[in-house]
Every structure is written in C-alpha cells, then in structure tokens.
Amino acid sequence: MAVSGLLFIGFVAGHMYGNLKAFSGEEKFNDYAHHLRELGEPMLPYEGFLWIMRVGLIVALVVHVACAIALWKRAATARPVKYAVKKNTGSTLSSRTMRWGGLTILVFIVWHLLNFTIVKINPSNGETGDPDHSPYGLLVETFDLWWMTLIYLVAMLALGFHLHHGTFSSLQTLGLTNSATSRARARTAGWVVAIVIAGGFSLVPLSVLVGIIEK
C-alpha cells in the first residue's frame, strides 16, 4: 500500500508539472505532449516511455486496490457490531475518508482517461478522437464548461485529502516516523504534497474557466 502509494505521488507530481505547461501556450503544451511520446528515443520506441509508465501505474493500481480491499475487509470483520455512539478524537478527516475518497478518485480516473486518453471525448460537442490533434484544444474546450471544471475540482479535493493522509501514512508504514519530530515532519510533508499537487492541478481548469488560459 505504502510503496504503490509513493509511486502514485511521484506520478501525480510529474503529471501536475506537465499540466502547468498549459500556461506557456498552445504550442508549448502540445509540444510537451508530443515529446512525452518521443522521450527516450531512439533507445526506446515511439511511446515506449509512456507504455513503461502505463504498465507501472497499472501494476501499482492493482496492488493499491488489492491492499485497500484486504484492509477494508479486515476492518469489517474485526468490528461486526458497531458502536451506538462513537466519537473521533485524534484523527484527521482525511484519514477517515481514505476509502470513499479513494473510490471517488478511481471513478474519476475512469472518466479522466475517457476524456483525455482512451476515447478523447470532447464534452463540449460530443466529438471523440480529438480530430484537431491538439491536446491543448481539448483541454480548453473541456474546462470552458463550468460543470466539467467543477467535476475536476471535486476530484482534486478528493486527491488532496487522499494525499494528505496517504503521504504521512506511507512514511509511517515504512517505519520512518520513529520519533515525535519525524512524525511531525511526515505530517507536514502530507500538507505540502496535498496542497502543491492538488492545488497545482486545480490551477489549470480554474484558469481556463476564468479565461486566463484560452485558445
């Protein structure tokens, strides 16, 4: 759980950085998307780097979800009779929403891949396959719809919550928080990762909606 989670943190950090290229304009953003496919050539085939990433992410996803299901099942069998009254006194909201938040992110990823990778659905006109071959165009037309931006922002809120506890929890699971100081540092790392990554991702759809990023 911890190791696959840390791999995801690395991935979303890189993904978030790439998205910010949208602020450098249409040409730079499209070039970036193109270069991702050529990365490592000629050592790697065209899209080789992307496929290595994709396979790695799929393996990490399977591990992460399998661990989550195992933990969820164990928790359910460990407390078959629920409390009539139960207070939470020492836990963060993010730590208690890992499971439903994780499911939210999973559902979002399915839509996100349909939207930008597999089918390239353009929700503004229903076209698929990105006929203009412009990732930038698809991005702007998607986030010009207020409700699309809203869906993405909700997903980023869920991601921020997940990263806030996940970062700390992975460090604790790996046994790296053996003192009060290191625990406080891991908690701070959770805040930084959550705000930088979820915040960085949210900048692009928000900027499209308010017209900072436009075609």
Binding site: L71, A75, R79, K86, T89, S91, M98, T177, A180
Partner: protein, 247 residues
C-alpha cells in the same frame, strides 16, 4: 446529579444484547465512574433486576482491567482509565451511553465485560524475553543508553486495557503490539528475540482477527497511558528489518 444511563445489556456471549435505559439520581461529583455504576447496581439489586456486569480491579489506573466505551470514547472524555474518571467530568442531566469494547477478538461475555485473552496470546507469541530464573541479577550489569531506556520505560506503561482496539475504526491492535515491541526492542535484554518477536506477534494479531492499521491515530488519543503513535512506526520498521533478514 441526575443522569440518564444507556447501557448495553447482554445475558451471555451468545445472547442478543440491547441498550437499556436507566435513570440514576444521587450521583456525587466526587464519585469515580465505576462507583457511579456501583450505585446503579445497588438500586438494580433492590428492584430485583440483574446488576450490570463490568470489569474492574485495582481502581487506581494501573492494572488495565477496566474498560467501557463512554459516550463514544474509550475510557470516557479524560485521558485516564475509567476507574480514574470522575463524575465531575459530567453534568447534571447528562445522558451517558456505555458500551463494551467492540471487536471480534474481544467477544462480549456479559453486559460490559469482554474477553481480552487475545492480548495474552499475542504476548505469548512474542512479547517476552528469555532469561534464566533465580535471584534477580545486579541491575546495572547490562548498561542501557539513557534515551533508549527512557523510551522503553515510557511505552512500558501500556497496561493492555484494549482502548486502542476499541477506538480504532479498523479494530487493530497495532498500538498495543507496537508498545510491547518498542519496549522490549529498545533494551539490550530484548535483542536476542527481537526479529522473531515482531513476526510472531503480528502473525498472532492477524490470526486473532484484529484489523489492519491505516495510521488513523484514534488509538493514541484514546490511550490512557498516552503511548505515542511512533511505536507503530517502530513495529513497522522492525517488521521490515525482520523481513529483510528472511524471517
């Protein structure tokens, strides 16, 4: 003080339990929570009803026998054991819900009494050191660094009450195990069995049916002895080292 008590009543381990409501008058602020229950039981006996069964022993906060989920908090609203919780922490007219620890490995025996021998079996699996019996050895014959000794002492205050399990949304006993593993692992006497200890204790813990830890932290805030969350990190670190050593 006049209180409304909502208490889990269950005849025996196989019976279906339910929450019963009792009105109790004449509770003094200076009573401990268990003395308040004693008062209730005296009244129940007078009316011919079966008294409420609950665990207690030393009543001075050092044995780990008392339990009780009080208004959704293990050992109630203060950082102490139920026996050292006093009625001044409550107000006249309050409704107090009292439930047993809820965990599959802690089956309810009667009313508020649960069987915590799963903890004993975890200790038997690895929470010990092997030493020759006989007269006590000279105390300073095995030197221990001060910082390690202090950490060991601090977590050795765990009384095995089970509040960590009761408070954990996953029903995990990781804080309890972590306290024992840190306590013994920090001291020279605990080194020979250090790596097999963590593997055996975690194996027994999972076998008993406790849940998996997701580092939520409810355990540490419920602990009457304030065992910190970093003992779980120590447990994980020792487990990682044991796995690296092929155990």
């Amino acid at each position: 003080m006049k209180l409304t008590l909502k208490i889990w009543r269950q005849e025996n381990p196989t019976a279906t339990g339910a929450i019963h409501t009792y009105e109790l008058d004449g509770v003094a602020k200076d009573m401990s929570f268990l003395e308040m229950l004693d008062l209730l039981n005296e009244q129940l006996v007078l009316t011919g009803e079966e008294p409420v069964a609950f665990d207690s022993d030393c009543r001075e906060g050092i044995c780990g026998m008392c339990s009780l989920m009080i208004n959704g908090e293990a050992h109630g609203p203060e950082v102490t054991t139920t026996c050292q919780l006093h009625m001044r922490s409550f107000n006249d007219g309050d409704t107090i819900t009292i439930e047993p620890w809820r965990a599959e490995p802690f089956p309810v025996l009667k009313d508020l009494v649960v069987d915590r021998s799963a903890f004993d079996r975890i200790i038997q699996a690895g929470g010990y050191i092997s030493a020759n019996t006989g007269s006590a050895p000279e105390a300073n014959s095995v030197p221990a660094p001060r910082d390690k000794a202090m950490r060991a002492f601090n977590v050795a205050t765990c009384i095995g009450c089970g509040a960590c399990v009761a408070a954990c949304p996953n029903g995990s006993a990781s804080l309890f195990m972590g306290a024992k593993i840190t306590h013994l692992g920090e001291l020279p006497q605990g080194q020979p069995e250090r790596w097999s200890r963590v593997v055996d204790m975690v194996g027994q813990h999972d076998h008993e049916g406790f849940g998996g830890c997701t580092n939520i932290g409810e355990c540490a805030s419920a602990c009457p002895k304030e065992i910190p969350l970093d003992v779980i990190s120590q447990l994980n670190k020792d487990l990682r080292t044991a796995m690296k050593n092929g155990l």
